[in-house]
Symmetry: C2
Subunit: 425 residues, 2 copies
Amino acid sequence: MTVFIGLLGCGTVGSGVVELVERRADKIAEITGLRPVISKILVRDIDKPREGLVDSSKLTTNAHDILDDKEIDLVIETIGGIEPAREYILSALRSGKHVVTANKDLIALHGVEILETAERHQVDVLYEAAVGGAIPLIRPLKDSLASSDITDLKGIINGTTNYILSKMTQSSISFETALAEAQRLGYAESDPTSDVEGLDAARKLTILASIAFTSTVQLSDVRVQGIRKITASDVRFADQLGYVIKLLAVGTDREGRLSLEVRPSLVPKTHPLAHVSESYNALYIRGDASGDLMFFGQGAGSLPTASAVVGDVIEALRNLQLGVSGHSQHVYANHKPAVPSRDFLPYYMRLSAQDEPGVFAQIAQVFGETEISMSNVLQTPTEDGHAEIVVVSHKASAEHIDTTLKRLRQIEQVIDIHTVMPVES
Amino acid sequence: MTVFIGLLGCGTVGSGVVELVERRADKIAEITGLRPVISKILVRDIDKPREGLVDSSKLTTNAHDILDDKEIDLVIETIGGIEPAREYILSALRSGKHVVTANKDLIALHGVEILETAERHQVDVLYEAAVGGAIPLIRPLKDSLASSDITDLKGIINGTTNYILSKMTQSSISFETALAEAQRLGYAESDPTSDVEGLDAARKLTILASIAFTSTVQLSDVRVQGIRKITASDVRFADQLGYVIKLLAVGTDREGRLSLEVRPSLVPKTHPLAHVSESYNALYIRGDASGDLMFFGQGAGSLPTASAVVGDVIEALRNLQLGVSGHSQHVYANHKPAVPSRDFLPYYMRLSAQDEPGVFAQIAQVFGETEISMSNVLQTPTEDGHAEIVVVSHKASAEHIDTTLKRLRQIEQVIDIHTVMPVES
């Protein structure tokens, strides 16, 4: 039997989906008993030249050709952004169509509305491709890890910033140079704000944390810090100390209190996350029974992301064939409070100060008085005659570090505190 | 509603399962609508003192108390080995009971018989815990990756050998010393043959390759080489060249011809598999659409392995509740032929020779004549007055390397060729 599919959007991911559904149709029919056929494709410009397997007779610029088509049982959304994607998806769900989407923004911001609508109409809405490209993350979190309480998530889930930080590390170049290169190669958009400020990672963390911690997580629960302030000297100091700098999305559940952060961090070179380079993504998970798990793979790209979409199509078709659609949604009734992290971590701080006798003693005294000991100190002269000082503290709470920073800023000879990052173990 | 479970075996994994089912019963009931209760436990010695949550009134030494109990709908097998586990599982399946097992030996050797029996009786048999402990491997391979043709598997799937090789690397000690330490700490058995000779990894590769390559793979299809011959000097030379030595289970599908090998290999320090240390396991997968994926986690241990078992229990209960049991089996009708690998890889060779003028020229000449060029050469004097020579070749086929080795052995001054390992990229 054939299942007709409507595809909304035919850009990078959409055209990959067209290719992959075509290529895998026999295999999917064998696995699920249902043959997927993309019968209509919504595009903005019907006359734009298209490569590959896109059949121009299927193109339409009118979403209603798909949403009102009673033959279509499944809609794949790869338009991205909030509107009109949200309206289209809600309309599809209301008319009993299953939905597969790669839209992280939409799920992060309107996930509850969409999942509840799907539940009400007993249809599936699946979004494995919204986070981590080809890497299966949502299904493992939902399924296998139901046997563990997840206490920690730690992920590299934004390819653009990981590319930039990898380049800064490999080639000892500045943030600006690395960003320009990423833009030239198409890894960063012309307006890179959403990526480099950590907002994209924050949206993905919202989705992952909801599932991992079985709570309705809001985007506003996530504290966000980007990578714009990271300099070549931070990268160099980190390297000397045995670390690499990564933009991490971190979520913890400590007895029902969540802490959710996106922030640059020092990752030990011996940690598996340290070796997730360029546009790869990875998610580290700690469960009370499972222990530490990591999932790694291509975080973006046409075919990798399409492979996650098609994986969801296969699940939706299998559910349809078995008559068990609409059971995979998870809207969590409880909203666990989000609080600043109380975990004790070492912190990396880079500051500049006047290169005068006694300055270092004053800095050391502040650490002593706030009862934070230093595990590593590096001091180097700068070109303009100042001293650049890097301190790595022993484990302390974020609150404790804040007090120390406030006291350090009161020292007259301290010119500026440039960077403060937690150190992962 | 309650589902009664019979547990066969209550050792390391079994007692973890008892603890975890108890701890997670509410959560599982919430997810699946069915409450799991372990009602009977088969043990060898009923009087043995047991810690934790094992209720002694549930113990029995007679398997028929479980297999003939009509109240029991699901049987968990954690005895290990072939018999009587095989007979118990087949009997359970024949009486319509679902089975979850952690038994890699049984699935590797009798998987087809067991899966066919389950299919005939429309019940589930699930074995996520058989490979990779807590790491979800079988479900991602089956589900998400149905959208990709998998061409390559590369895994560190034996914790004992990984522990030994990690210790040899970290502490520059011999294989024998590292093995003795592993035995002392309980990471290696008193008879370590199955682990150090690569047989355990070969069995797990048989299971993974069957699923990844959708073919009935036989254990005899796997070429196996263990780590007994790896010396401290191999580890040191590898390190100098930028590699670590890992026992890899490697499977490739080249247009329907499989190549399956377990063998020590040189892994570049920049490769994610290089950082899988001690008792961790990892599986690297390459799919035509998904690109490269890696799954990493605890490969053994009571609770990690139990978490995989309980994950399967949850799947079986969910299927039971939805009335869709018996659809997750995969017995593959086709048997893709297993052939020696024809992939071109660089090879590492360590040999000893008389430290005489002209010997090195002869060795270099053999490489020249067999048209294999050398990318790296290290020569060091040994304590007994010989020369130890390490050569890393450019990419060549295994067949080509065999010819070179044969020719090298014919050189009079070549004393021995100690180690030959492929180099991963």
